[in-house]
Symmetry: D2
Subunit: 461 residues, 4 copies
């Protein structure tokens, strides 16, 4: 199986130059000027196009069981959407129930993921604590290629990790060379505000952002960072959505600590006016946590991206259809939290970032793949275009355009938070594991083609 990509412009996180690329099996084997294609190679003409590392989305929730239902995009449809958007790997989440064995949950998710079209790997959530959890963390790290653990600081009475759990788990992560990550919202405040709003009779989607104001995220971000700093552990914050959290990360970095921040394509581009939509279903379609924010937070997020405070972009892809959202018709706290985006992430960042002059194409690559690969220690196999690297690539046509819509997206749900946005510059061809996976609007990869990615510990940061 070999591919010959001719005449494209390679864009990495560092460089831009024209060259041909030869891929054999799942590896890039040659990069250079005027190369000769191997025999039987599939030829791809990349003239006037950009060749970049395939995107890595470090935050998705395919077929997540949640509130008695299951997210509509499973690993098959979710990774189909990923490939359609130029993303060749996702990092999803194993979320054990409190008291459930981590290994048991992990095996369950591995089973579910077998039908994936793209590559995948898993963060594992720490939702409870005792000595067996610590032992299973070690087993996951040493035998199953897991190098990151997730902690939810919200969702009281469910999967919330209180400070004692954070302290214990971060300590174990540090010992294992794994990276702790957090969903940063103060669960006590959210719980209080939810109850208070319901008591006041404010029950619709417009209550959702009121129950999770920016200070709730800022507090938790700062707390997780301080706990990690105190213990000497690094930290990764998922879906940073507020000025306060950006400031907290920056403060830590300015004081010499190792803290990473992830931002969602949605938080960068959608603001909180969506919750005022008079159509309940439309407003509810935007219910996710953290919520979309007033405009000045978006400015802060972009500044965070430009200044290096935020390093990765993700989606928190967790797709619930209108019928599912309607579970919270009378109580906003019962609306399943989540929106889609794995397909649109790179396009949105290209349009709003590169085309608006906020970031360079090299920074685009860093933000959509390279930084994630480095932080989760799969660089330079992933996240780069280089001899010896995995042949996960996206061929970007900067001259083509497309209007995003739920009508045409790959996700199984019927709304899109990016509905109607026109993108100038689109992922035309996606190559995954050295094979054409998506080409000019057609899925070529098969369900099951995706591979599990082992991630070693002790990343060099």
């Amino acid at each position: 199986m070999s591919l010959f990509i001719k005449g494209g412009t390679i864009v990495t996180h560092e460089e831009t130059y024209q060259a041909d690329i030869v891929c054999v099996n799942n590896k890039i084997v040659e990069i250079g000027q005027q190369l000769t294609p191997p025999e039987n190679a599939t030829l791809i003409d990349a003239s006037d196009k950009l060749i970049m590392p395939g995107g890595i989305d470090p935050h998705t929730h395919m077929q997540l069981p949640f509130m008695g239902t299951v997210a509509k995009d499973d690993f098959a449809s979710g990774t189909r959407a990923a490939l359609a958007g130029g993303t060749t790997s996702i990092i999803d989440f194993v979320i054990p129930n409190p008291q459930q064995s981590l290994l048991e949950a992990y095996q369950q998710w591995r089973e579910w993921a077998k039908k994936a079209h793209s590559n995948y790997t898993f963060h594992v959530a720490i939702t409870w604590w005792d000595e067996s959890v610590a032992q299973e963390m070690e087993t996951l790290v040493k035998q199953h290629g897991v190098n990151s653990f997730k902690h939810f600081m919200a969702y009281k009475n469910a999967i919330m990790a209180t400070d004692d759990i954070l302290v214990a788990s971060f300590t174990k992560c540090l010992e294992l060379g794994a990276l702790p990550t957090v969903h940063a919202e103060n669960g006590e405040l959210v719980y209080h505000l939810q109850n208070s709003l319901m008591e006041q009779g404010i029950t619709g989607p417009e209550a959702h952002p009121l129950s999770r104001p920016s200070s709730v995220e800022g507090e938790a971000a700062n707390r997780a960072i301080s706990i990690a700093n105190t213990l000497g552990a690094p930290l990764y914050l998922v879906h940073v959505s507020t000025e306060e959290a950006v400031d907290a990360i920056r403060y830590a970095k300015d004081h010499g600590y190792t803290v990473f921040g992830e931002v969602l394509a949605g938080h960068l581009t959608v603001n909180d006016s969506v919750y005022q939509n008079p159509d309940w279903a439309t407003a509810a379609a935007h219910v996710m946590s953290p919520p979309f924010r007033p405009k000045h937070h978006q400015d802060a997020l972009w500044k965070g991206v430009q200044g290096g405070t935020l390093q990765t972009t993700a989606t928190d892809h967790c797709a619930f259809c209108s019928e599912q959202k309607a579970m919270g018709k009378d109580n906003f706290t019962q609306i399943p939290n989540g929106t889609a985006g794995v397909e649109e992430r790179m396009m949105v960042l290209w349009e709003k970032g590169v085309n608006e002059g906020k970031i360079t194409p090299n920074e685009f690559v860093a933000l959509t793949s390279t930084n994630t690969a480095k932080i989760f220690n799969i660089y330079p196999n992933k996240g780069c275009v280089r001899v010896g690297a995995d042949a996960d690539l996206v061929i970007w046509n900067p001259n083509a355009q497309k209007t995003l819509s739920a009508k045409t997206h790959q996700s199984n749900i019927e709304h899109s938070i990016f509905e109607g946005m026109t993108i100038h510059g689109i992922p035309e061809t996606t190559i995954c594991n050295g094979k054409l996976a998506w080409h000019q609007g057609n899925l070529i990869a098969q369900s099951g083609d995706g591979k599990y990615i082992d991630r070693p510990t002790y990343a060099p940061f």
Copy 2:
């Protein structure tokens, strides 16, 4: 009972000017040039001296029951020390045991305080929570002149207030027009670090600061502030000792929130090298929480004082003698936490603040009495020199000097964290409730002369 103070220079938080003062009973009744003394008035010559509002120490713990022992300075000796240092009022703490009635504890402390030489009032600590606590808070506010409640974010398994308690109590404070205050240290981290140090066999006083690094305070400060901000409540942080906490307060103030910070005379002037003292007793004598800090934190505290981020100065006076400290001979976590200082506070601030050019005499007055009076809503009765105000005054001799020492201090304990510091400018005469209370080294006030201060709610900040 009347006093005539002649020829002094009045220094308030705003102004400096020369005038005579007439006090009748416990009030200032006249201020002006060349006044005529009332008949039978006691005459005090204040030529070449400064007349300032009597100091208010917003943070003391007289005869605190703690760890099976009781602090050595009771309300008699503690307030004797206060008067000797120019301080005419203290705000002490009622600390109910978890599950104990707040009113019961309050009455107990009122009883103990009857022997006070100076004026006094009480913050009440919230160490547990149920509906009865909320009701007793209301009773204390409406019937007993309490307008502030204290929350310990440290001391796990004892009096620690977890986030749910903070949320509930701050909400109640807001409703009542009372001011929530916090001791900001992350109790989970302290607990973890204490255990970890003990396990490593690090058991002496040198372990104390290691178990409470500055990040532990910074985290809690930020958390309490965020919770208060989210709820719309003001907040007062006691004994701010770190750069991180100063930064957290400043960040909040810069974003328009109402947050106050208190700093101790000790934290401003003593650094963490004291814990390296080879003499166990000397090192242990400095064990208090938060601990003394590396030098750069002192710089940050002074900057905080100068820039208005910190508004009040206190001592956390809680005196344990060497014998008591020895309870922790084999385990630093068992050393009773606390140091003295109520006598030295104003002198130390004068020497290190005014004499070193860091603050003006007007700022000295603001920091030692006026700001505290305003924040705890007893201004302008207290904290100012003005017709109609309470006759609580200190006459400062800027030309006299004195060397601080445990040998000569009024406290009942045998060490002083300010041992050997020479002060240029000392409180020569203290007037409390319109009467000479301390004069040229002699106590004149009687035990029981001190009055309880009722504090109304809804301070105008």
Copy 3:
């Protein structure tokens, strides 16, 4: 001449309480409950009204000669407008031409000001430098009650003070105990941008803000502050209009330096969209320097006001009529810079500050008079309601309302940057020098009633 003000609520920068006030001649002689009016006193019923110190506008330019014309409001009409708005004192500017004697210019302005209805005093601008300037600064300070000097960092080829002048003059100010003030904009950048815009054919009022972006002010603010800090001098920045300048002041204050910031009512409430007005005259009416700014700067200014970074409010009242503005019809750099506002300042701050919950009434007083009085060392004669203080007062009716308009304002010009703003709470009666000066819409003061205010040096900051 005596006044008896009955039943009002006194609001100072610190306190709020109900009391009667007696003024005799130009002084407040008694404040208290249920006072007896002096014989022949004019009675004013202040029931349900607030009594505050008369406003002080620290930044006006009455009848300023500028670009071959003269500002339309002279000291008569300008101070009439002041009284109508509750302002009883202004600080105007003596602006000598380069090479002109400071004393000569000062005398000229004193002459012009004789017709003032309200009190007044002068900053003197340093527009050039040699040893005679230093000597005249000394004379002004020692013989004429001047305690502040102004420096324009913009207006290249005219009155711009380059760094060597700033260094020399700040040094002299420090020696004299006077306060240096600056108009902070980088004149070289403005000059470059003006030329560049004109070359590109962008000649209308919309070019004005483009020629003076926020970074131009941020730079100069930081530079002036650093120069003052280096020399050990305090500094006062007039008309702070940008986030960058607020940040620069805050940075200095956080590092222990003495820096003050003034903000204009206009910059707090009007944004840069005014320059897009298709009507040339309307757009040109808003041309002033620094220009009105994008919205996020207003947020930063309000935060600066709330957090104490900005201490005073002013107007830069400098009124040019449409005919004068038309001088720049073909060249925006020739549009006379300036807008009116001395009448509206306090009302705008009440409406947008107090009524919107951003500041308390006490803070309103601090921001409109007390802080200015303290900084320019005329406190407590001015800026306070107290026995012994000057009887300059405004009686505010919080229940009355009024819509601001050029049709009804006192200024001689035909436009208002506050046109159409409805104010809830208005200055009903203004008392200046112990006399009714403005009452229920009628001017009572006579031209010439205003007094010159001597300002001593070495203010206690």
Copy 4:
């Protein structure tokens, strides 16, 4: 000419892995496991050693004509020292006299540099301005491989660039795709302080830091950044030595601007106590601008390095011997400014950075070569270990040690600011242009082996 480097561990700014390297002529041609050496290749055993890109010092002044004398290290001895320290390229400065042709000066420096042992290239200083300067900038950029221009904001009455020059030159740089750089100190303040100190009779080296306090640098850094930001130009600040300047760069980066900061090995490790040395010659040996700073600035610089605010390390190598320094015996302003360091830079950064845990070996590489190569647009030819890159390498022995001393250094001067510092981990072998240049203490390169480096414009930042 070929080299075979066997068994070493390659360290780049991103990765660490073991591999053999083959260099042919001046290029790296193969990297891989168990490679076969080319015939006749020189074999180098790098087992247990690290192979890193040769260092690039972006700031040196070899044989600089200055104050009637010439710096003692010329391009021969200076680059000998560079190679001895693992540095294979320097960026020196062409400094035309005011009114001198830039091209003429450039040719002069090119001539002087012909004897270099290592590679070299030049920044060109803009010390005056007229249209011919702009034209010569263009010629230098288009025909001579210059892509950066230097501006001295200090040195009044000599080479100081005032704001009008900065504006004009930055504008031209932006047009040409070149990078403006600045020496940031406010020349007016320095001039004032120098005169003031001399007038006070403070004439020794101890006056030097007093004449250039940190605020003087902070001001200029902020000014240059603001001017660049306003014009849309990027900016590079040489020798950042203060907390203020670090803060200014960070502020700009946090707001989305492109600003780079360079830090000297000396400023990171030497503090201002050196100026108190009672030996005049020793104190004078440390006279350079900006001066060495109080300790808290070093902390800020390290934080800047760790947090990404500062990207490059340099030396400002400008060597004056004791005899030359003595020119300022009676007047500190006449002491030639400068210290050596090109040999020690990498060792000092290894010892104080890597060995003390402040930076990782990958960050060490980024800071000593990669970032400089990227910023000055010679990456990936320089600054990386990769097939196709120039064979400029240093082989680092982490297990060897060495004590720095003027007795053993390569510089021609008789003192070292790093005297006595022991380094654990040293550059054992330096390869320049594919040839052994320094090996185990011996110089192998010939004078003249160094090559001029052309630098293209429009670096991709």
